[in-house]
């Protein structure tokens, strides 16, 4: 499979993992290895002196690049501060920008996200914004200097798949930065569909970490992303209303 390139950095895996929802660091570790991911998100939270072990140790041991997110932020100001703290703590200027509108849907707030993106790009960050499946917003964020756009398939953790494949295709058609399908993936066919629609990568967490067997689902996702990418590159046949014989009709 061809490399994924984000902000000049190459990745041979097109599956980006999240780390939320895993029952333990051991389960997470096994799932990340099985997924073959090379880029994985973490959240920034108040340090808890009682907690044992760190997700950072897992990523470091496995040689996986860390992608801090701004999960939990409701305003551009909070997101910018969180990104700056992540840069300080994790020594990376990459950030998955996530500014949510409300806790019930966890849908991204487009106004705050755009505001934060402009400020973070100006501050030298490599910005990967999580957005709704909105082609106009995706284009504006690319113009603002974002390194990728990350439209959702469906709300975070919902497992509803890609609710608006048409909009994802419109985003892909117009984008010259990578399009990463983020959120909503429920099972392997959803990930394959994202790649068939032309997305450059898929980001998922819950579908793996809360599966009955996370390591097995991680393998399934890895294979699905590869299959979807190859199918996209191969070029699918057109859909037809009626049959078209694949064998000669005359004996």
């Amino acid at each position: 499979m061809d490399d994924l390139i984000i902000a000049g950095e190459k990745f041979s895996s097109r599956l980006i993992m999240g780390t939320g929802g895993a029952p333990s660091l051991e389960v997470l570790d096994q799932a990340l290895v099985a997924s073959g991911t090379e880029l994985t998100t973490v959240a920034m939270r108040r340090l808890d002196p009682a907690s044992r072990g760190s997700v950072l140790d897992v990523l470091r041991r496995r040689g996986i690049k860390v992608l801090p997110n701004t999960a939990g932020c409701f305003t551009a100001g909070e997101a910018v501060l969180t990104a700056r703290l992540a840069r300080e703590a994790l020594e990376t200027n990459w950030v998955k920008l996530e500014v949510i509108a409300d806790e019930r849907t966890l849908l991204p707030d487009p106004i705050e996200t755009f505001d934060a993106a402009e400020r973070l790009v100006a501050d030298g960050f490599v910005v990967l914004p999580y957005i709704g499946d909105d082609p106009a917003l995706a284009r504006r964020l690319e113009q603002a200097g974002c390194a990728a756009v990350m439209p959702l398939g469906a709300p975070i953790g919902s497992g509803l798949g890609i609710r608006n494949p048409h909009n994802i295709e419109l985003i892909v058609e117009a984008a010259s930065v990578p399009v990463i399908l983020d959120a909503g993936i429920g099972t392997a066919s959803d990930a394959a569909l994202a790649m068939e629609l032309g997305c450059d990568a898929v980001l998922l967490a819950t579908a793996v970490t809360r599966a009955q067997r996370p390591d097995l689902m991680a393998t399934a996702m890895k294979e699905a992303v590869v299959a979807g990418r190859l199918a996209r590159q191969a070029g699918r046949i057109p859909r037809r209303r009626y049959a078209e014989a694949s064998s000669p009709m005359t004996p």
Partner: protein
Amino acid sequence: MIVTINGAAHEVADGITVAQAVRTLTTATTGVAVALNDEVVTRGAWETTELRERDRVEVLTAVQGG
């Protein structure tokens, strides 16, 4: 004086530094970042930045998420 560290009020000695405040929570110096009243304090400035009455210190690290 009273300062807030990760949301909890603490009675501390005058002149306590950011570095000392961090050490009340952890001995780690990597993978950790500090905001003082919503501004980042870079690690190089922890030892020289003194807290004032009613300052708010946030000590953050990476956790599972996203």
